[in-house]
Symmetry: C3
């Protein structure tokens, strides 16, 4: 059922990440900032979190990928994202967008859509309701929680990916990755990941890190998610509640090696 070649690619990407230690520029929300930085460090990447208008263009030009996240968006940080994103586009650097809470308020939905219009975005990662909100006005999310299953959103996602010329990642019990042509499913993960704030944001940042070593957005997304989800499974072997689990996940990201990842990756093509 799971694709052996893709599991091997996941392992290779992890090795490349550890070897290259790419600088990942994050413009992200205040809640997840610390956890995302620690997860990137534990994974082998080099995180920098800055949104200062004076430096985002220079900083992103030193980076290997840019991760944008609208979790606590302000007019100032929206402008930071535009500046950094345009420079990243000019330099052909991968750009990942996490439209946190899109669909819950007009501000979030419209901001995410404007970023999609103004920038060339390689990967958009959200839960089903967030992604659906980008496809249509129909859905209303309950805060940042998912109200649709990945299944329900898959069709809309494929159309949206095709129309917006991007790779869409809909995370849920099973993650869906599609560029409108190819579709991959990632079966790694654990329910406790939903009990820790910022795990979705961190997944998006890790996809950016994997894109720094694998230019194929569908492959980078699926292999990054397999790595992150498998770390969640390993963490759940050691912790059964959110506090210990959040710490065990950082440990699992750090101790995972390519052999374990190849063995445990559950990517379905």
């Amino acid at each position: 059922m799971y694709d052996r070649k893709l599991a091997t690619r996941a392992g290779r990407n992890l090795e490349a990440l550890r070897a290259e230690k790419p600088l990942i520029h994050n413009i992200t929300n205040y809640v997840a900032m610390n956890y995302t930085a620690n997860a990137l460090l534990a994974s082998g990447a080099s995180p920098v979190m800055t949104f200062a208008h004076e430096e985002v263009e220079e900083m992103v030009s030193l980076a290997a990928a840019l991760a944008l996240n609208i979790g606590t968006l302000t007019p100032y940080s929206y402008e930071s994202m535009l500046k950094a994103g345009k420079r990243a586009n000019a330099l052909n650097l991968p750009v990942v967008l996490d439209p946190v809470g899109s669909g819950s308020t007009r501000h979030r939905t419209e901001s995410a859509k404007r970023l999609m219009q103004e920038l060339s975005i390689d990967v958009i990662r959200g839960n089903a309701s967030e992604v659906l909100s980008l496809a249509a006005e129909a859905s209303k999310t309950k805060g940042v929680d998912a109200i649709h299953s990945a299944d329900e959103a898959a069709d809309a996602g494929i159309v949206l990916a095709r129309n917006s010329n991007t790779t869409l990642v809909i995370t849920g019990e099973v993650d869906l990755v599609t560029d409108g042509q190819r579709i991959l499913y990632v079966h790694n993960g654990h329910g406790l990941m939903g009990t820790v704030t910022g795990t979705g944001c961190t997944a998006a940042a890790l996809i950016a890190a994997f894109m720094a070593v694998d230019p194929d957005a569908v492959m980078a997304s699926a292999t990054g998610l397999a790595y992150f989800g498998l770390a969640g499974e390993h963490a759940a072997d050691r912790a059964s509640a959110p506090g210990g689990f959040q710490i065990a996940m950082l440990d699992a990201l750090y101790t995972m090696d390519s052999g374990l990842l190849v063995e445990g990756a559950k990517i379905q093509s």
Copy 2:
């Protein structure tokens, strides 16, 4: 000594929280933001932390309660609190205020007082020196640490609660809850809670979560504090230093069930 009916109410409120998963809108400080979000998630609530002027009114209208915290207040976030608070008042949603550090600088004392004037606030939670600063100009807090005992502050608190038509929560070794008529004391808690930053802020957010399921502010505050304090006691069974304790508290919030809470709640009427 402890009130059995109130302990039962604590257990019922926790069950309601787990069943309803209310969205709690937090406008809080940058230090406690992550821990507060994780504690709310571990407790069963659905946290959202946003202060963007473009969306706070829409976001709070999706929420079941609003928690305000002036720990790292700026003119921008003060305005966010006013906007969200006025909408919450219009919608009859519970509003909780944590006047962090009130009494230490004029800015904090005056900002807390202005929020009390501009908004209808259901619960104010602070340590004794913070609450005393709202009652009079006399006290000066040493940073955000308490310099008065809950006992010393009780009388001033009762008068302040009556005059400002709100419920006051003064946390300390024993917590005091009063609306100026009724007085409850909560004896749960552990000294290690004072060694972790943001536990007070998190207590206030949990009170907001309990108000989402129990409209009586005195009852919601006392039962929420009993839950939080008992989680601290359970955490202290497993950890004896601040790092492990901070993680064990999240675990205890998550693993606590209504039976344990009814058994362990120490609310005195």
Copy 3:
């Protein structure tokens, strides 16, 4: 090889910190804010993190030391640092600067240099590349990671310390502390400290806390770093990956007593 008198001084400083619980005013970055506050609390200090223009001058006048950190600098927080720093200077309070990422972007290098010109700064703590960037335009850091060894930077550091009339701390495998006349080396620490975000920022804040009890900047810096590094060594006895290690460090800062510190401090004069 290690200086016994300096180890004794480290122990005495830790005891003074626990006895006096000095208020440390931090204007720091959003990523490290929570961890720094928890580390200061675990150590015995009283942290406050505020950058509001309305109160930074009043707050710093209540504090025993000021710690500045440009990790997520904005025009607003730069102004906060100037205001607080000038008041601290007028009150003869110790001021510590952490020039995070100086050398990586012009904005950071210039902001750090301007703070050095506008304020009298007692201690500057950075890795070798950050400190070198303040001495010359030559170096480019790779994000916030060190690209030069402490050895390579020592000579430039000594000259910079002398010219700018400050104490320089260059952290790395071995930490260097110099005021341009005296040089101390601190051999405490563990490689896992580099896998947790904000440990460098926290080291700078702890130096500020030690300066609150020991006015000699070279002594306060070296003894503070020995304490922090030894906590890292103790943490590494209990945890072998970044998640558990980050928590174990807070525990080690808390459980360390002056006897353990005197025994374990590795300060070389």
